[in-house]
């Protein structure tokens, strides 16, 4: 038996070692982005030069500016979050509350899809998006989104939605499962229609779940790399997102400016950190009991 005082010390030690590795990494990122050169964690000269990309395009006018790219990323993340939350909460409610043929099969299928490696589907999805691009009105040339076809913000969001939905549906189903049947029955007897029960009684009570799923989806979209890379024309295209913008700095012909890469990386990180600061409690709900923090 360990003495009671040794135990917490040991626990802290176990926690400090792995987290310090990550913290050191971020520290390096921060120092590097404001330095001309670094040696370990020591700056060899401070500068703002690496942050130049904020006010001028470092690669010439044919490349989109950081602000256009940020707007793209924001639009894509919001669109994806919105669709995921709406579809997941409707589907989750049906799966939690209604009996219909194929319900069990649907549930296990979604679980399998969630486990499916997305990489294997990249090529078929590419062809699907090419076809969507041919559909008039929604295929291309939609303001802000570009459309839902290949090389558009909407198209990337659509693919991301598809990959995110299985997870979202299961999470939402879990939250609905935690709402007592009695509350719903009570509302039906009070005179509400099924839709009103869902909207006025059930949805307000799974706000923590909606919050958690929104944040989770938003972060997934914000940090996505593989799907935007595959389904847009890449860093140069009008549909570029932040994770692709980083690529501008890494090329084979010119020496990579690691300090600038660090700055852009940090820029992409800032909203995420802010997000976490304000929402981590809601995010914890996704793995917690669900009902906690409700009411």
């Amino acid at each position: 038996m360990l003495r009671p005082k040794v135990k917490p010390v040991l626990a802290y030690l176990v926690l400090i070692v792995p987290s310090s590795l990550i913290i050191l990494g971020f520290l390096w990122l921060l120092i590097t982005s404001f330095s001309t050169r670094v040696e370990g964690l020591q700056s060899l000269g401070w500068t703002l030069n690496n942050w130049r990309f904020l006010w001028e395009s470092p690669f010439g006018p044919q490349y989109p500016s950081i602000w256009a790219v940020t707007l793209n990323t924001l639009v894509m993340s919001l669109i994806m979050t919105l669709i995921v939350v709406v579809v997941s909460s409707l589907t989750g409610y049906a799966l939690s509350r209604m009996k219909f043929p194929g319900r069990k099969g649907f549930l296990s299928l979604t679980l399998i899809l969630h486990a499916f490696p997305s990489v294997t589907l990249l090529i078929p999805i590419y062809f699907v998006l090419l076809q969507i691009a041919k559909i008039p009105l929604i295929g291309r040339d939609v303001p802000l989104l570009g459309g839902f076809g290949y090389n558009t913000i909407g198209g990337v969001a659509l693919v991301m939605v598809a990959f995110q939905l299985p997870f979202g549906i299961w999470i939402m189903k879990g939250f609905f499962d935690n709402i007592s049947w009695d509350m719903e029955r009570s509302a039906l007897i009070d005179g509400a229609s099924r839709f009103k029960v869902w909207w006025q009684i059930i949805m307000p009570n799974i706000k923590p779940g909606i919050a958690a799923l929104s944040i989770f989806s938003f972060l997934t979209a914000w940090n996505a790399y593989l799907i935007p890379l595959t389904f847009t024309a890449g860093r140069a295209g009008k549909s570029a997102v932040l994770s692709l913008y980083l690529q501008n700095f890494i090329s084979e012909s010119v020496m990579t400016e690691w300090n600038a890469v660090a700055a852009v990386g940090l820029f992409q990180l800032v909203p995420v950190v802010l997000f976490f600061l304000f929402t981590q409690e809601a995010l914890l709900n996704i793995y917690g009991g669900g009902k906690k923090g409700g009411v």
Partner: protein, 369 residues
């Protein structure tokens, strides 16, 4: 409003949750559905509410079949065991919700909410959220919400089970009084026989989805139709002894190895008329077993356990291989192991056919004597 259930069935897959139920509830009556958990009583209630659709059979409100009506079209109020309050709404909004859905005008809504809240004694809690209320207060909000739309039928699904003993006793009285004052038809589901006995004008006892008996609390207590009802109603429960029924020397006798009692000619004849088998189960309530002086006992037994209940003591006696419990005036001065003379009130004894579990003391109208 009158309620009639005709040949009502509800099956969940192969399980018959409610099996061929016939029940009539008069206008303004308070009926309890009583039975152990899983007996189909809540299923029956939810069919009345319109939440479950019957597999077959009819539900009639005032001679009108309502099977196809949605819950909101049935003009019912319901109180749940879990209260089922809406946690994101204030007490006012909870009570007002049924009126909001009916698009009652703001001013009238306020008045009606205030009136039913005052009736339940929660008029000053209207701006609180359910989480800020105690269990008893939450139950009152649930009652106020059920009453605010002035329903024709009130349904209760074990509404007092989550309250502590003292509060339960108080709410029991309040609900009964309220129902009488309003004259509204009420159906009350419970597994607590004391609740059913004290509140209901009639009790329907169910087991395995089947209606066992339907009668006034008095009938059920004094003249149970079946072994199940006899054992389920009454606390402490009825004693059961396996005995032999004999007719000799112009008299009727019940015998075991250790005791023989003579029952009245009238009751013996009735049992005979009902084809009493040779082996019967005799049931007798603990209050009908008494301690007597040495002369003329029915049998002698050894004190095994003494449980003081305050006003009376519950004493368990053992004789041969049998056990019998008696309620005797407190304080009981016997000691454990002591042999005591006991007498049974034979006119209060019940006889059941062990095969069919039905009373053999039934008279022509189906009620046991």
């Amino acid at each position: 409003m009158k309620i009639a259930l005709e040949a009502l069935n509800k099956h969940f897959g192969k399980v018959k949750a409610v099996d061929n139920l016939d029940l009539e509830i008069g206008d303004g009556e308070f009926v309890a559905l009583l039975g152990p958990s899983g007996c189909g009583k809540t299923t029956t209630l939810l069919m009345l509410a319109g939440i479950y659709k019957p597999t077959s059979g009819h539900i009639c409100f005032d001679d009108r079949v309502v099977n196809h009506l949605l819950p909101k079209e049935r003009n019912i109020g319901m109180v749940f065991q879990s209260y089922a309050l809406y946690p994101h709404m204030t007490t006012f909004d909870n009570i007002a919700y049924p009126l909001k859905l009916k698009r009652v005008r703001r001013k009238e809504m306020k008045e009606r909410v205030q009136r039913s809240a005052d009736m339940m004694g929660i008029g000053d809690l209207l701006d609180r959220k359910p989480a800020q209320l105690s269990g008893g207060q939450q139950q009152r909000v649930a009652l106020a919400r059920a009453l605010v739309k002035e329903p024709a039928i009130l349904l209760f699904d074990e509404p007092l089970s989550n309250l502590d003993a003292k509060l339960r006793l108080r709410m029991r009285g309040e609900i009964k009084r309220l129902q009488e004052d309003l004259g509204v038809t009420a159906v009350y589901v419970t597994h607590d026989q004391v609740e059913a006995m004290t509140m209901a004008s009639r009790i329907a006892v169910m087991n395995y989805g089947v209606l066992q008996t339907y009668g006034t609390p008095n009938q059920l207590y004094n003249h149970p139709d079946t072994l199940f009802v006899a054992g389920f109603i009454g606390a402490p429960p009825m004693n059961f002894l396996e005995m032999t029924f004999e007719e000799r020397d112009n008299g009727f006798y019940l015998k075991t190895q250790a005791l023989e009692i003579r029952i009245s000619a009238e009751r013996g004849a009735l049992a005979k008329q009902n084809n009493v088998p040779q082996r019967v189960i005799m049931g007798i309530r603990p209050e009908n077993v008494s301690i007597v002086a040495e002369q003329d006992p029915d049998f002698k037994a050894e004190v095994y356990l003494i449980e003081p209940l305050g006003r009376e003591d519950l004493v368990t006696f053992r004789f041969v291989d049998e056990e019998i419990r008696a309620l005797v005036p407190a304080p009981f001065d016997g000691r454990i192991g002591e042999t005591i003379c006991l007498k049974l009130d034979k006119e209060k004894a019940h006889l059941f056919n062990p095969e069919t579990e039905v009373s053999v003391l039934r008279t022509g109208n189906g009620r046991s004597s």
